[in-house]
């Protein structure tokens, strides 16, 4: 995977002093909206018009983002783009580190994933383990022609050889920090928060 | 050998000394002179007449892996007993003079407490033909109590004949009251717990129906009837009614039926599987009051040892029964004395005098006074300890009281002037 499309933003100035428990908003609603619109354009550009594209949001906020992206694509292109949801719980590599948890919904549009360009959508790209699980989950659903990855925030610290194709914002962080994406549909408002570990969640 | 028991509270009353000389009690009173007798300090201890158990399974012959006459009588001595009635359901069954004499002899050889064999009512406790009751009565074992315990003498005609026949030698039929058809495959008390656990029920009525029939039969033929291990409030009512009509019926209750309820079966641990089964709280309350008011005459342990593998299994597969000799007196203290239902004189009556009289044991269950055989139990009612199965003297470990904190401790047991237990240890 080559990350050709993103125009990395300037490193964010807003830093959180160690010990400050209050998370700071690094992106607000309009920033998120602009980022998604930009990603929509990049998708159309890279997939040459977005035919065969299928958006699959990773539970939970990735699904909301996929739905919004689908809306943005429809606005630009004037025709609906299929989107769905993917729950990767059963494929996670950290399942046995915590008690078994409730499953989210996996809903693939009736067109299926075979021979389509599947764009996985998630809120934050961090270690890459969730995306690894999503690739495995996708593998059991069928055989896409290509798989791409769109994320709202890339905070670095990858533990696997995974890169995003579309990034809303690159956000260099320390391991002691926590990035939290809030979306109106899930959380009542749009924001990306950066705070010390344990503070933002 | 002589002993001076100093400062014991006789039947829980005033402190007194008891002078034991040879096999008997020489004197009871304050400030007795030791005069060369070995002194046993008994300050704070209660002196009771040696306990008598009407219902003990010693398992020998046949199941020596569970208990022997030797281990069972040692266990009895540790529990303060000086006489036990050995139940007849051994292998071979104690249904002939030969077998009862063998058990009686084994008891004499062991020497820890008197072993009075119980004879089977019917051959092989099969319920069909009378065993040779007269031959057992005339044997060296002088059998007076007859029981098919473990099985009910369910045939009304056989029961009637047995009741009549034992009159000739002042015997008594001890009935295991269990209507067999109503209890086929029964696993536990029939009620809320059995319904929830999916275990086949043993209804109270199966006991009560047999007791009702038997008291009417006993009244009709004028014979002594003894009811084993009464377990239900309804049985108590029937026995109370029968006694009010002058029926010569006596009855026993086990320590476990005085303390435990069928809630204990909730974990499917067969340590709580017993026949008759543990009943409800209402039954326990009725049994306690019946023992207090004399409707139930005595406590009998139904000490039923089983090897570990007979209990470490599925409930339905497991053997019925629990050991009880070493916990009987503490359980009675907990259920009857601490609740104010019985004083220590009452305990002496229900655990020594009455069972000895029902079993026609002339040398047991005698008052603690000069001239009586020196069968004495010294008991410390202030001790408290958790029941530890591994500390039992019995060969088996199947006590339902494991881990339960119970009051009291047997400090010494004297059998005809000789200590079988001293300072809580077997002699």
């Amino acid at each position: 995977m080559v990350n050709a499309a993103s125009r990395p933003d300037e490193p964010v100035e807003v830093r959180v002093a160690d010990g400050d428990p209050r998370p700071k908003a690094v992106l607000e609603g309009p920033d998120i909206r602009r980022a998604l619109t930009r990603i929509a354009h990049e998708i159309l550009e890279r997939t040459k018009g977005g035919h065969d594209v299928l958006l699959l949001g990773i539970q939970t906020r990735g699904v909301t983002l996929a739905e919004r992206l689908a809306g943005a694509l429809r606005e630009v292109e004037g025709r609906p783009v299929p989107w769905g949801s993917l729950d990767v719980t059963m494929y996670r590599d950290d399942l046995r580190l915590r008690p078994a948890r409730a499953l989210g919904r996996t809903e693939v549009p009736p067109e299926g994933v075979d021979d389509r360009v599947v764009v996985l959508v998630d809120d934050v790209l961090f270690s890459g383990r969730t995306v690894r699980a999503a690739l495995d989950a996708l593998n059991d659903l069928g055989r896409p022609r290509a798989v791409q990855l769109a994320v709202l925030v890339d905070r670095g610290h990858r533990e696997l050889p995974i890169r995003a194709d579309y990034v809303g914002k690159n956000l260099p962080t320390s391991m002691r920090e926590n990035v939290k994406v809030l979306l109106a549909e899930n959380d009542g408002r749009d924001a990306v928060l950066l705070g010390p570990t344990g503070g933002a969640k | 050998m002589s002993y001076l028991i100093k400062g014991a509270r006789v039947l829980g009353g005033e402190a007194a000394d008891i002078l034991v000389r040879d096999e008997g009690i020489a004197a009871v009173g304050a400030g007795l002179d030791a005069g060369g007798a070995e002194v046993v300090e008994a300050g704070g201890l209660i002196a009771l007449p040696g306990l008598v158990d009407l219902h003990t399974h010693l398992r020998e012959p046949g199941r020596e892996d569970a208990e022997t006459v030797g281990s069972g009588t040692r266990s009895a001595a540790m529990g303060g007993f000086t006489a036990v009635h050995a139940m007849a359901n051994t292998d071979p069954v104690a249904d002939t003079a030969g077998v009862v004499e063998q058990v009686w002899r084994l008891g004499r050889e062991a020497g820890y407490c008197d072993v009075q064999p119980v004879g089977a009512v019917t051959r092989g406790i099969a319920g069909e033909q009378l065993a040779e009751l007269g031959a057992m009565a005339d044997s060296a074992a002088r059998v007076r109590v007859f029981s098919d315990d473990g099985h009910c003498v369910s045939d009304a005609v056989i029961m009637r004949r047995a009741l009549e026949y034992v009159k000739a030698f002042d015997g008594v039929v001890a009935q295991h009251a269990q209507e067999p058809r109503l209890t086929e495959g029964a696993q536990m008390n029939e009620g809320e717990m059995s319904a929830a656990l999916g275990l086949r029920g043993w209804p109270a009525v199966a006991e009560e129906a047999i007791i009702a029939r038997d008291v009417l039969l006993a009244q009709h033929v004028g014979s002594r009837l003894h009811v084993c291990h009464v377990s239900t409030a309804g049985s108590v009512e029937i026995i109370r009614w029968a006694k009010s009509k002058g029926c010569p019926v006596t009855a026993e209750v086990t320590p476990h039926h005085l303390l435990l309820t069928d809630d204990r079966c909730g974990g499917y641990d067969p340590i709580f599987k017993v026949n008759p089964p543990l009943r409800t709280g209402d039954d326990v309350a009725a049994l306690r009051h019946a023992l207090a008011d004399g409707t139930i005459d005595c406590v009998a342990t139904d000490h039923a040892p089983h090897p570990v593998e007979a209990k470490e299994t599925e409930w339905a597969e497991a053997a019925m029964g629990m050991i009880g000799l070493e916990t009987a007196l503490p359980v009675v203290q907990e259920a009857m004395v601490e609740t104010g239902l019985l004083d220590w004189a009452g305990v002496a009556d229900r655990m020594s005098y009455k069972p000895a009289r029902i079993g026609r044991l002339s040398g047991q269950g005698r008052p603690l006074e000069a001239g009586s055989p020196a069968n004495i139990t010294l008991y410390d009612p202030s001790a408290r300890r958790a029941v530890d199965p591994s500390a039992m003297t019995s060969k088996s470990r199947n006590t339902p009281f494991a881990g339960l904190e119970l009051p009291g401790r047997v400090v010494a047991t004297f059998l005809r002037g000789r200590p079988t237990v001293l300072e809580g240890k077997l002699q």
Binding site: M90 | G201, T313, E317
Partner: protein, 313 residues
């Protein structure tokens, strides 16, 4: 302390809903070309069947295999168990094999409870004696929910040999937990005397109950009851407590007919009822795999079980 699923009462309302929701997600797997998830890779599930029950064993086996667990089938016939090995020794053998989960079917009530005290893995009761069959109740509730939606306030009528039925016991407990109103219908000989303590009502009159039922669950009449004076004859039982076409017509239009199987056609259920559109009998089988996958995932999928109850004694 490890947790197990031995009784339907081991599940809180939240637990039960979690199982049903999870089963709903897992049901999708059945429609995919790859009917497998990697979730229980490396986990060992032992199917310990002391009673013949091919359908339940296969259902659990399919559930475990779809979650990628290693499945060891241990059936009593022809094994050391039939040669008199005790349950405890069998349990020690399972321990030595490192079983993470043990699915046990046993003729003795309480056997799973005993087993749970002897093994480290989680125990799932697949039917014990006349006690319980909690996964059957879960698949039944799952089936009802798929057909009727939320079970709160739904009227469920369970008909037949309640006294000896583990299915009835587990269903009464689970349906009560989920807020349904259960009515048991049986001849008085086939209900426990203490049924009054159960969270349900009891009727002896099927015809009076049917018009108010959203669900009718027919229980199998066991062969061995037929000659044990529980009822005068199979014909009389069938006439009074069997579900035929005429009786089915008394049901509300939306009502469904369930049966845990195997059926005695013509005894407790007429063929025309069993094969009607109201009947969920075939669905129940498919739903069984989903419900059991959910149970196995929630017990074995994480660092510790997310549902169930410990065994204290």
């Amino acid at each position: 302390m490890n947790r197990h699923l031995i009784s339907a009462a081991d599940l809180s309302r939240d637990d039960a809903l979690l199982v049903l929701d999870t089963a709903e997600e897992l049901a999708q797997i059945a429609d995919r070309s790859i009917k497998k998830l990697p979730t229980l890779r490396g986990r060992t599930v032992v199917n310990l069947f002391f009673e013949d029950s091919t359908r339940t064993r296969i259902s659990f086996e399919a559930a475990a295999k779809r979650l990628s667990a290693d499945v060891i089938n241990f059936s009593a016939k022809g094994s050391s168990v039939s040669k008199g090995e005790s349950l405890k020794d069998t349990a020690l053998t399972l321990e030595a094999m490192g079983a993470d989960g043990v699915v046990i079917r046993h003729g003795a009530s309480g056997a799973p409870h005993r087993l749970a005290g002897w093994v480290r893995g989680s125990v799932v009761n697949a039917g014990d004696g006349t006690h319980e069959h909690p996964t059957q109740a879960l698949l039944d509730a799952f089936t009802m929910r798929r057909r009727l939606g939320d079970l709160e306030g739904r009227k469920v009528t369970i008909v037949g040999d309640v006294l000896h039925s583990r299915v009835a016991r587990s269903n009464v407990l689970l349906l009560h937990t989920l807020g349904a109103d259960v009515t048991l219908v049986a001849p008085p000989t086939l209900v426990p005397v203490a049924v009054g303590t159960w969270p349900c009502s009891v009727s002896y009159d099927l015809d009076a109950v049917l018009p108010k039922s959203d669900v009718v669950m027919m229980l199998r009449v066991q062969q061995e009851r037929m000659n044990a004076a529980y009822f005068p004859s199979v014909r009389e039982y069938s006439r009074r407590y069997g579900l035929d076409g005429d009786r089915m017509a008394q049901l509300p239009e939306h009502a469904i007919v369930m049966h845990p199987g195997p059926m005695n056609r013509g005894v407790e259920i007429a063929a025309e009822v069993a094969d009607s559109v109201r009947s969920t009998i075939v669905e129940q089988v498919a739903n069984g795999v989903s419900a059991r996958m959910a149970v196995l995932y929630l017990l074995l999928g994480g660092s510790e079980p997310a549902i169930g109850k410990g065994v204290s004694e």
